[in-house]
Symmetry: C2
Subunit: 754 residues, 2 copies
């Protein structure tokens, strides 16, 4: 027995072969293959634990107003438990030798077939694994298990609202509505599911992006626009499951020594966002609507209350009509002069006063409108295969055509629509939607590509069109375009992201809290400029916006690149920044703080534009040696020097903030805390006063902006003058909200105390 | 081209071979195999649409108080697209010829492996497909696609509460708690999931049974106790997915000309239930508890109000203790003389008065009790592999050992416990539970079988033990034992089923309505005697029992084999048959109707015992030519002569009933309706008066029991005397129920009217 083991050991050693190709190194013996990326193990294959599986399945993508129900029936799934490493060419004999260009590894089933040839290549700084060839059948499912360290953390995945550190869960890559509630345990999600099938889940997002960074200091970007599932539930592997035309898959990699370098390399690859226009720092962009007079009157009211206004965002510039969801914008992208008389003149007048006008557009055009008839006649919309005519998309109580951006003529036509908005005098717009509502099953594109692959890609195209329009008009540095939807290469096309339609509440999964991990995950996916609606957007049933929510949200957004308000989907039923004089006063102070920060806003913006360091950064970005910071998802660094811990729960008077090792100064009174690392490198948690208006913010003592930050201390005198009397205040000013909130409290009390 | 097609056609024809083995006929050509069962196509295999797949997976069975979370990760799934038909022996050369004994078909992957050898054999009336051999790897997943007609209907599956006609959904075969609410769209299910993970779903059941009958007049019974999934969602196949030790699988078949013959043959195969004891027809079995005096006082109160009582069921005979779920029985199966003084004497006294006593038992024994210590010392409990000691099962707030019924000594010991209950004087008991709570992952049985396979089998063993105990004591015709849990062969062992723990409400998925499809599906699975708790069982939060529910449930159960009440899990908070004098009066009338029906009850019972025609039958059982009846799940025939349409919603004064073509007489006033079939063979729907106490029931005019049924008409005089004033009545008699119901109404009104 002893002799046999020894001889087997020698045999194994004899078979150990190591070879390198660019960043990739291959170590193989008779039973296993290990692939390293710049000395990091990224793939480990053994015959007992194969890294690659091929399969056959049929999928269904049911679209319910942008909430997709996606399912797959699997027919076959085959372990490819054997492999050979080939030099460059398929079908050559097996010769393992070094090459600086590319390698091909053939994974195959014991019996020889099916098999897949994966090509490992390097171009510039990027190392790529791509599918070279598949033999043995028509396979449309690929599973690739990348090796994982049990302790490794993974971030990115586009805009992820619930989790920042992603391991332990699976993330489908499919652009769709984020949903209402987004947590199957909450009653809001329950009702949204019950009434409209629209509750969403932890992973539903407008902007999925198969881009991931690891604390083992590498990134992976999957170039593949069909559905994929990123399964991070296993201790020892990250499993990527790809559907449909799997031969198109490319996995791009690079490594780095620091987080800064990693993000710089990732954004080198994906493209970076230019700095937003500087007029934004003159104050808040105010979302108002209802017509020229109403809009100007509200802005004047705000200004006379001390609110600094940089822009007026009128989403209903093209007109309105009423549905059960609330008032809806008329999606025919032309000025409605009945609703907005003199708008052309007022835009110019206000601009001279330093205030810009912004509008709204999306890639859908409402049926039977003038623009629709024009575009339909020219065949500019995505078509239905069944009918051969324009594929109508159902938006609840109206239908739309969707501009086929793969048709060069349609692309040019719509670009001119955008340029027309600039010429009219708008300084930007919400460029809403992207792929979310587009059916994946019956849609015919000009370029002939499968609708299953175009669904996600559409978000990229829509961003690209917007960027090109402002670039060609030479207004990219003066225009504020904000988008919610994205996919793979979107960071290279999108100017500014906004977090979409949060509920007007303090819930973790869909309220104020959720936009913090959303910003962090976008940042780690290469999208450095994000922001959110002050006060959230979606209201229904007992979900109504309170003054506290508006102010808490606003005080957080002071410490983000952009401060913009939204009236929400039901303006009259919800608290607005202009609801009472007191709210105007409180919000005015926030706009003053925001403008006070202008030099720092500009500094942070340049770092995003020049290096790809996101504006809102996770703590580990600058404090990687502190093991406590890798799971923090509700705190962020705004730039390198401000540490922000937004208050995201109701009725808080103090709040805890974690300080990593550094010298910190409390923004509101200059208190210094010198945090010395403990033996493991950890910092400390402190509790600070957190009255409404004083969000917990610290700055680095050694910051170049210390003098600027010192100017915030005088603002601490602010105290809510009637916080003790909030209930009566609410009853007097908005009895509707009051009744809903009281009912909600009674309901929970009775149900949960039984 | 023309020439080629012709020659191919000739080639194909040449290859068509047909051969027969018992009921099975095989038709094959080069690319396809069709297998017929007595001229019914049951399996169609082509290389493009293979009928058999093998796979490898790992499963997890998480037990949360009997609510299992079952998931599987699939590693491989291989289409076995080729086949050969072998005569008798594996490895013989391919000779296709007739044989009366058995055939083997080898399905294999194109490349030769993996492969599975399925044996087709016939024994007596039963034709069987069994797994003979699997080659090419360690496979633990098998998918078998049986051919389906798109219009075919399928019934059975054990006890299915939501759907009677099963196609369009998947049914896991796993004994577990049925859950609370059982419909993810209801708020009750939502809270049950939120608070305890116990909401259940449409398929969760105590009694899954892989037995199915088809309207193409064949049955299939799968002998396989590991987890299986019966996927009836496809138009063209019924797919059975088997996990774990797939080599044990056996699929048994038979055919028939009529439903009667089919059920007779199915119950010939599974075994039939003997007639229940005739003393049951003396009245209702009253579920009461609390001690000798309290029990006797309540029964006396009921009797003096005119209630006919056949038995007193005291579930707490062994003592009680309190948990947050309510009062719980002390699971040490010995008389508690402190709580029930003189019980031994009272049993004898009451028996002379024609009233029996019944008790309660289950296969679990509470930790540290005298019985536990005794059995633990002898090693009579199922053990944990991890600890080597008794595997404790968590029942919420107490732990139990479970008797290892595979240990012959333990089996004998527990049988004697049951016999002891008979000797003490009990005339039956609720034999609660079965496999539901037994862990599938860490359990060691005396017989060494895998706990994953024993979980379901345990329910069969527990029923077998009960039947043997009463048979050996020669009291099978005098004893009423009722069980909720079952599996594969349970119909041959269980005496009477009861439907388990319904919510005390009018919900479709877990209330009064749900026990109707439950009874019908049990009947079509070969279990002919079922019944349910009058008024349901589970109460919590706003789910509270009203007088209306008790009376509606009672009036339905008059027309079932057994009338038995239950106080539910929270007796004080819920309406009881003894709550007011008026309720006693109303319930007294129902017991009178039930006893009035005695000759018919006996007639129906004999049909169950002698032929396996279930007591509660779907309409198609006797009216197969009417195409309207195949989807009816809330109406049934009690025996062949009574057509019952229970009122299962609140506040109904009229109710619709479907009458198939026949001469029908309305039970409550003798109105005759002669239903003549229309050109498609359909009957008609009529609306009848449905005051509480007058459930819609018709009898066949040609029934031998017409005279008996005519005696019901005088009872129609009954009217609820205060139905118009029910709210005040409730407030005065049970303010707790009143408050909950008012709150529930307000809650729904406010939420759903917004």
């Amino acid at each position: 027995m002893q002799i046999i083991s020894v001889s087997l050991a020698i045999f194994a050693i004899t078979w150990n072969v190591e070879t390198t190709c660019g960043l990739f190194t291959f170590k193989k013996n008779i039973h296993s293959l290990e692939i390293f990326l710049d000395n990091r193990l990224i793939l480990k294959h053994t015959s007992a634990q194969p890294a690659v599986h091929l399969g056959v399945g049929t999928a269904s993508y049911k679209n319910n107003h942008g909430n997709f129900d996606i399912s797959s029936t699997l027919s076959d799934r085959v372990s490819l438990n054997s492999f050979t490493v080939l030099e460059n060419e398929i079908n050559s004999t097996e010769v393992v030798s070094a090459s600086n260009e590319s390698f091909i590894v053939n994974f195959f089933h014991d019996l020889g077939t099916p098999s897949i040839y994966l090509k490992f290549s390097n171009e510039g700084l990027i190392s790529t694994i791509s599918v070279n060839k598949i033999t043995g059948g028509k396979y449309n499912r690929l599973w690739l298990k990348f090796w994982a360290d049990p302790k490794e953390t993974i971030y990115g995945g586009g805009e992820q609202f619930n989790y920042f550190s992603l391991r332990g869960r699976s993330y489908p890559m499919w652009a769709r509505e984020q949903g209402v509630g987004r947590n199957k345990s909450t009653i809001v999600t329950y009702f949204a599911d019950l009434i409209a099938g629209a509750g969403g889940d932890y992973h539903t997002t407008y902007w999925p992006q198969p881009t991931f960074v690891s604390d083992r200091m590498y990134f992976m970007h999957l170039d593949f626009s069909f559905f994929s599932l990123v399964n991070l539930t296993n201790e020892n592997c990250h499993e990527l499951e790809l559907w449909e035309d799997i031969a198109q898959a490319k996995f791009h990699f690079n490594t780095a020594v620091t987080w800064k370098q990693l993000l710089e390399r990732l954004t080198d690859f994906l493209g970076r966002q230019p700095t937003p226009p500087e007029w934004l720092y003159n104050g808040a962009v105010i979302g108002v609507q209802g017509g020229t007079d109403e809009v100007l009157q509200k802005v004047e009211e705000l200004q006379s209350g001390g609110v600094k206004v940089s822009g007026i965002w009128i989403q209903d510039w093209s007109g309105k009509f009423v549905t059960s969801f609330g008032k809806r914008v008329y999606w025919n992208w032309q000025w409605d002069p009945t609703m907005y008389p003199r708008l052309d003149v007022e835009i110019k007048r206000m601009r001279k006063l330093g205030i810009r006008f912004l509008s709204y557009i999306n890639p859908h055009v409402i049926k039977d409108s003038p623009m629709y008839q024009d575009a339909d006649a020219q065949g500019f919309f995505i078509k239905s295969k069944e009918t051969g005519k324009t594929q109508l998309v159902d938006f609840g109580e109206f239908d739309c055509g969707t501009v086929d951006l793969t048709n060069p003529d349609a692309y040019k036509w719509y670009k001119n629509v955008l340029k027309g908005m600039l010429e009219f005098g708008f300084s930007g717009w919400m460029a809403d939607f992207g792929g979310e509502y587009i059916p994946a099953e019956d849609a015919v594109y000009f370029n002939g590509r499968s609708p299953k692959g175009m669904h996600n890609s559409y978000s990229e195209l829509w961003a690209k069109l917007n960027k090109e329009a402002v670039t060609e008009a030479e207004k990219i540095n003066d225009t504020f375009i904000f988008m919610r939807s994205g996919f793979g290469r979107s960071p290279g096309y999108t100017l500014v992201n906004w977090a979409g339609d949060q509920n007007v509440d303090f819930s973790y999964a869909d309220g104020l809290a959720s936009v913090i991990p959303a910003a962090l995950s976008m940042g780690m996916s290469g999208m450095g400029f994000t922001h959110s609606d002050v006060g959230g957007y979606f209201s229904d049933l007992c979900v109504v916006r309170t003054e506290e929510l508006v102010l808490r949200w606003g005080e957080m957004n002071v410490f983000t690149p952009i401060l913009r308000t939204h009236e929400g989907n039901r303006p009259n039923r919800n608290w607005q920044v202009y609801t009472t004089e007191k709210t105007i006063r409180s919000f005015a102070r926030l706009t003053q703080l925001y403008t006070l920060l202008t030099p720092y806003h500009k500094f942070v913006a340049k770092e995003v534009a020049n290096h790809g360091y996101p504006a809102q950064r996770p703590l580990f970005f600058h404090y990687p040696d502190d093991p406590s910071v890798y799971d923090i998802k509700f705190q962020y660094l705004y730039g390198s020097d401000l540490l922000v811990a937004p208050v995201f729960l109701e009725a808080q008077r103090t709040w805890q903030i974690y300080l990593p090792p550094d010298r910190w100064v409390y923004l509101w009174n200059g208190t210094e805390i010198n945090v010395v690392p403990d033996e493991e490198g950890r910092g400390i948690t402190v509790a600070v006063n957190a009255e409404i208006g004083n969000p917990p913010v610290f700055y680095r003592k050694s910051s170049d902006f210390s003098q600027l930050f010192q100017r915030f201390a005088p603002y601490v005198v602010y105290r809510p003058d009637d916080s003790s009397n909030l209930t009566w205040h609410l009853l007097l000013n908005n009895p509707t909200i009051f009744i809903f909130l009281i009912f909600r409290k009674v309901f929970w009390y009775v149900f949960l105390s039984v």
